[in-house]
C-alpha cells in the first residue's frame, strides 16, 4: 500500500477531522456548527479546535449571528480553502495514478 508523500500534502487539511470539515463544506455552501458536528461525528471541543485551525489558515470563514436570541455560527469555505482542497484531492489522485 502506497503512503502519502508528506512533503507534497497540505498539513492543514491532512487530518481526518479537518478533511471531513472541508469535504462537508465543499459540497454545500454554508453549514452551522451543529450540522458540521453531526456530519463530522466529533465533540464540540474537538470541532471548535479544528475549525479554528482552518480559520487561522484562511480556509474557512465564519459568520456569527443570532436566531431567536440564540447564537448561530455558520461556516463556509473561502476561495483559498476551495483551492487548497482541490490541490489536496489532486495530490491524492496523482498518488493513486502513480501506483
Amino acid at each position: 500500500m502506497k503512503e502519502f508523500d508528506y512533503h507534497q500534502i497540505d498539513d492543514v487539511i491532512h487530518s481526518r477531522i479537518r478533511l471531513a470539515i472541508m469535504s462537508v463544506l465543499i459540497s454545500i455552501d454554508e453549514a452551522d456548527f451543529i450540522f458540521l458536528r453531526e456530519k463530522v461525528k466529533t465533540t464540540d471541543g474537538n470541532l471548535s479546535t479544528h475549525l479554528k485551525k482552518l480559520e487561522d489558515a484562511g480556509y474557512v470563514a465564519v459568520n456569527k449571528s443570532f436566531v431567536n436570541r440564540k447564537p448561530i455560527s455558520r461556516y463556509m469555505l473561502t476561495q483559498k480553502g476551495r483551492k487548497a482542497f482541490e490541490i489536496y484531492v489532486e495530490h491524492l489522485e496523482n498518488l493513486i495514478k502513480k501506483k
Partner: protein, 198 residues
C-alpha cells in the same frame, strides 16, 4: 502524523460529500399549499361557470393567489432562517420556483384580463411551466420520480391544448392533486425522515 492510504482518503472524502449533499433541499410544503389553493380555485371556477355566477371570479383568484404568495413568503423566510445549511442546489431550486410562480401569476392574471388569449388556455400554459419546474426539481433533488412528474404535466398540457373545454378545470384539479399535492406530501415525509436521521 498518521499515515492514510490515498485511495481510502478519496473514498472518505467522496462519502462525506455524498452524505452532505443528501441534506434535504425541498420540504414539499409549498407544493401542498399551492396545490390545495389552486384546486379550490379551479373547482369554484368550474361550478361558478356551470351556475352562471361569474361575480365570484372578481375576488376568488386574487384572494387565493395573494394568500398563496403571502403564506409562501412567510413560510420560506422562516425556513431559511432555521435552515442549518445553505446549498447552491437549494438556491437554484428556490429561484426556479419563484420565477415559475411569477410567470404563472402573469399568465393567470395579465394574460386573461388583457384578452391576449382565452381563459381556457391558462391551464395548459401553467401545466407546461409546472412540467419544467418538476423536471429541474427532480434533477436538483436527485430523485428521478420527481422529474418523471413533468411527463404528467406535459401530457396534460397537450390534452388541454388539443381538446379545450370546461372539463379542463376538472382535469387540472385532478392533476393538481396527483402531480402537486401528493408529490409534496411525499417530499414532506422524506424531509421529516431526513431531519430525524440527522
Amino acid at each position: 502524523m498518521e499515515t492514510i492510504d490515498a485511495q481510502q482518503e478519496l473514498v472518505f472524502i467522496k462519502k462525506i460529500m455524498t452524505d452532505s449533499r443528501k441534506s434535504a433541499i425541498c420540504n414539499g410544503k409549498a407544493f401542498i399549499l399551492w396545490g390545495i389553493l389552486v384546486t379550490i380555485g379551479l373547482l369554484v371556477t368550474y361550478f361558478s361557470i356551470i351556475n352562471h355566477n361569474l361575480s365570484v371570479m372578481n375576488w376568488l383568484w386574487p384572494s387565493l393567489i395573494g394568500l398563496g404568495w403571502i403564506i409562501t413568503i412567510v413560510m420560506e423566510s422562516k425556513a431559511a432562517i432555521k435552515s442549518r445549511t445553505k446549498t447552491f442546489a437549494a438556491k437554484i431550486l428556490a429561484y426556479v420556483w419563484i420565477g415559475s410562480g411569477i410567470a404563472m401569476t402573469i399568465i393567470g392574471f395579465v394574460g386573461s384580463v388583457s384578452g391576449a388569449f382565452s381563459g381556457l388556455y391558462i391551464n395548459p400554459l401553467i401545466s407546461n411551466i409546472l412540467a419544467v419546474g418538476f423536471l429541474i426539481t427532480g434533477i436538483l433533488y436527485g430523485k428521478t420520480w420527481v422529474s418523471l412528474i413533468s411527463l404528467g404535466w406535459w401530457v396534460g398540457a397537450i390534452v388541454m391544448f388539443l381538446w379545450t373545454g370546461l372539463y379542463t378545470f376538472l382535469l387540472m384539479s385532478a392533476m393538481m392533486i396527483l402531480f402537486l399535492v401528493i408529490p409534496g406530501v411525499f417530499m414532506f415525509k422524506q424531509y421529516k425522515k431526513e431531519l430525524i436521521a440527522e
